[in-house]
Symmetry: C2
Subunit: 245 residues, 2 copies
């Protein structure tokens, strides 16, 4: 039995997120498990670094899987390229130590939220951008973001109201860049709560549009109440960029 | 009555090409004509710089249309953004002289063919790249391309065998670049025959894979016979990049 580390890309548009749910298998994890179970001639479990929600994309999701037939990394790559749907790809495979676990060992994650700030739709990247008109004050957004960086209790930014575990997380950086018509917000942290990136983005967007003050963010954090934060942004603008171990 | 010049982008994947054909209207021209006819309250005709085939994309298709209600350019942009499907966008509108005709006045066109030369599929651009494994000899392709540049009778590269008009065209340049895993072939010419870019690309690909000699290209041109040239490449890798007037 060998353990493998997989790097995975997907266009999440038509999936119910990463994680297998009950008996529906229209999930990314489900699709990959089906292919690798066929290859390994038994039911295998693919452990992702974390779940992504329905409609969210990934350029660098990491997962691990144990295979009894011990194929070479190239064989796994070729098998996945042949049998996975075209909107999911395993782009790299390496052998990992027996104890490597993609979720438990993850140290840092990077998510990117992309807003297409233009009245004209972007035809070619329409599935990977959220389109918004309006005039954004990027400096106000950057000020607000500075209040979110650090180790905080992010309960106000958690989509699960009755979440029982710790809601303390560390956000190492939030970068806000304007690239042509695109506003790109890049988050690096040690982990993110359910919907946390989309709620932080919604809150920053409200600051950018002048609907909320950058200096109100400490009070939003202190409230420990989802209602204190901004809207949850739609999933299509969000992408899991990389995971560090 | 005012005449307008439109710059249009489309993902051609789900369309039967640019040009309206009989009573099917699943064409890009048909979709735009429907929207602008509604705006102008009568049947309008949108003249493209040329037809693109089923599945071919455009980043800079040019068209002109005459509208009796004489809306502002911003009104046309906003109306198109609201009513066109998300895989077609009018990205720029300007008033043109009464005599401007997008097809008759076109001086130069640029097409790009993109090959993803990797065993691993590209998830995010899968609809805009043609995926091919194999080891390409780019220098041989560049040598072959040099034989195609210039004013020639391109009958061997014309998809319509009984084409009655002149098949003489001028190709100003063919650039072949390797960008990461991508081989990008950029064609600039005064006009291109039916399927000409895809047949030239297929011929260059055969040279790149060692199935054909770069120095055989003059004989292919001289044959004036479609069977002398290479395969017709699939449409998804092709994009009309810009048109010059």
């Amino acid at each position: 039995m060998k353990n493998y580390k997989l790097t995975i890309q997907y266009d999440g548009s038509r999936y119910n997120g990463w994680q297998v749910q009950g008996n529906t298998d229209n999930t990314v994890q489900g699709k990959i498990q089906n292919v690798l179970s066929r290859m390994d001639d038994r039911e295998v479990e693919v452990h992702g670094s974390g779940r992504t929600d329905a409609g969210v994309h990934a350029r660098g999701q990491i997962a691990n899987v144990k295979l009894q037939t011990e194929p070479t990394c190239a064989e796994i790559l070729a098998y996945c390229a042949q049998y996975l749907p075209t909107d999911i790809a395993v782009i790299a495979v390496e052998e990992a130590s027996e104890r490597f676990h993609a979720r438990l060992n993850a140290q840092k994650k990077c998510y990117v939220y992309r807003i297409h700030n233009s009245p004209v739709p972007n035809v070619f990247e329409r599935k990977y951008l959220y389109q918004m008109t309006g005039c954004f004050d990027l400096n106000a957004m950057k000020s607000a973001a500075r209040h979110l960086v650090g180790t905080h209790d992010f309960r106000s930014f958690c989509g699960l109201r009755r979440f029982k575990k710790s809601t303390v997380r560390t956000v190492y950086s939030i970068d806000i860049d304007k690239i042509g018509d695109e506003i790109r917000i890049t988050y690096v942290g040690n982990g993110f709560l359910n919907l946390m990136v989309r709620i932080m983005t919604g809150t920053l967007v409200e600051v950018g549009l002048g609907q909320r003050n950058a200096d109100d963010i400490p009070a939003v954090l202190a409230a420990l109440d989802r209602d204190a934060a901004g809207i949850t942004m739609p999933p299509e603008g969000l992408c899991l960029q990389w995971v560090e171990y």
